[in-house]
């Protein structure tokens, strides 16, 4: 019976030539993507694109940097300058992009294993420096791409290929980790909370500072199958039942265990100077200090040179092949 219906189209089904409104920001020449049915990564991409559109981001200046893993493939599906780097090293790569050209709007999208295990050191330092970038950590509690190994976020007792008898370790509380390291915007949503995710992404894009956004996503093929949690719909229902929205909650309370309720929301939204702010202040300070009193250069011209060093991505420098970057006084 089902097979016979394959040629019957209901009146809502359109032809394949139609375009989805999001197609212009996606690399349609690489679709369909590799993610499984019931995986939330496509949803994260959808919300990312919607948020960028909503706040009128200049797509030419947006960069996406990702690491290795299922989430790491996100950079490859967005029609933006994208960098698919090595495992755990998306954040330092993004640091370099950002510091050399602070006008770029950089988002790091990577998974829990990539950002918090091998990349953990870079995460905490980038947060500590309050680098102006957005880090979207898609947490599916597992190492997906490599077949389902235990991750630093796998809840205690849950099974994975490298913890076949149950995970022995206490998982990280990612919002707490990020907040205590110095992140200035810390939030967590699930892939069910699409509108809230869009709002928080948009806020993060427009905020100056280090934003750490944890997105809880199902991994039906590996994490959930091994732990008999059903399919993607089951996980999303579990999100609906068990997630508790509490804006401004103390990140300390944001632990996730296998069975209980867990917090989502915008936990932290503060302001403090970014690394670039401090760097620019320093450059101005030293320029004034070393300005000679002699006739050759007046103090004003040195100060105005120091102000000129506040960068704005010099496009004509790019034509001559010389780099455009932070404080470029040269061409």
């Amino acid at each position: 019976m089902k097979g016979a219906d394959i040629d019957v189209l209901s009146n809502e089904v359109e032809s394949e030539q139609q375009d989805h409104p999001m197609d212009s920001i996606l690399r349609m020449d690489r679709m369909p993507h590799i993610w499984c049915p019931g995986c939330g990564l496509g949803t994260v991409v959808s919300c990312f694109a919607a948020a960028a559109d909503e706040c009128g981001m200049d797509y030419d200046r947006m960069c996406v940097v990702s690491g290795i893993g299922c989430t790491g493939r996100v950079a490859g599906y967005l029609q933006l300058d994208g960098y698919h780097t090595t495992h755990g090293r998306a954040i330092p790569f993004a640091t370099g992009l950002h510091l050399a050209n602070p006008d770029l709007k950089i988002t790091v999208v990577s998974g829990d294993g990539d950002l918090v295990a091998i990349g953990g050191n870079h995460l905490i330092h980038a947060a500590r420096r309050n680098l102006d970038m957005v880090v979207i950590c898609v947490n599916n509690f597992i190492y997906g791409m490599t077949g389902g190994q235990v991750a630093p976020t796998t809840p205690e007792g849950m099974k994975a290929t490298t913890s076949p008898f149950g995970c022995l370790e206490r998982p990280f509380n990612l919002p707490y980790l990020a907040a205590s390291s110095g992140a200035t915007l810390v939030a967590r949503w699930t892939t069910l909370d699409v509108r809230r995710m869009v709002k928080t992404f948009a806020k993060a894009f427009q905020k100056k500072g280090f934003s750490f956004l944890e997105i809880i996503s199902p991994c039906p093929t590996l994490f959930m199958r091994r732990n008999k949690m059903g399919d993607g719909v089951n996980m999303m229902r579990h999100f609906k039942e068990d997630r508790v929205i509490e804006h401004g909650a103390d990140p300390r309370d944001a632990d996730i265990d296998a069975t209980g309720k867990f917090l989502v929301g915008e936990f932290l939204d503060i302001e403090r100077p970014t690394y670039i702010d401090s760097y620019r202040d320093m450059v101005e300070r030293i320029s004034i200090k070393t300005a000679p009193k002699a006739e050759k250069k007046s103090a004003e011209s040195v100060q105005s040179k120091a102000k000129k060093k506040a960068p704005s991505g010099e496009k004509d420098a790019e034509k001559s092949g010389e780099p455009a970057l932070a404080g470029a006084g040269q061409s």
């Binding site: 189209l9 394949e16 019931g38 949803t43 069910l192 509108r195 399919d231 719909v233």
Partner: protein, 94 residues
């Protein structure tokens, strides 16, 4: 929660803006070949507009179809939540 028919709400008095404010109406468009049958649009549509088709696409996934044609209010949750960019909305003229 799936596929139950909601009764029309009963108000104890007529809302002051009745007749001035109308809900938007959405037209659901699907790209069945992109669908991977995750079921989220069907599950979470707040107006239970969608239902799973009896037909499947060339990859064997059962894609969504509109069940309750007049109920879509163009909230675009399905468009946002779909991981495969397989469903989107057009606002129908008022």
């Amino acid at each position: 929660m799936q596929n139950t028919v909601e009764a029309a709400p009963k108000f104890w008095r007529t809302p002051l803006d009745e007749g001035k404010v109308t809900s938007p109406i959405g037209e659901v468009l699907t790209i069945p070949e992109r669908c991977k049958g995750c079921g989220w649009c069907v599950e979470f549509c707040p107006k239970n507009v969608l239902t799973t088709s009896d037909s499947f696409n060339s990859k064997g996934y059962y894609y969504p179809v509109v069940g309750r044609t007049d109920e879509c209010v163009d909230c675009r949750l399905c468009e946002r939540i779909c991981p495969d960019f397989a469903i989107y909305l057009r606002r129908a003229p008022a």
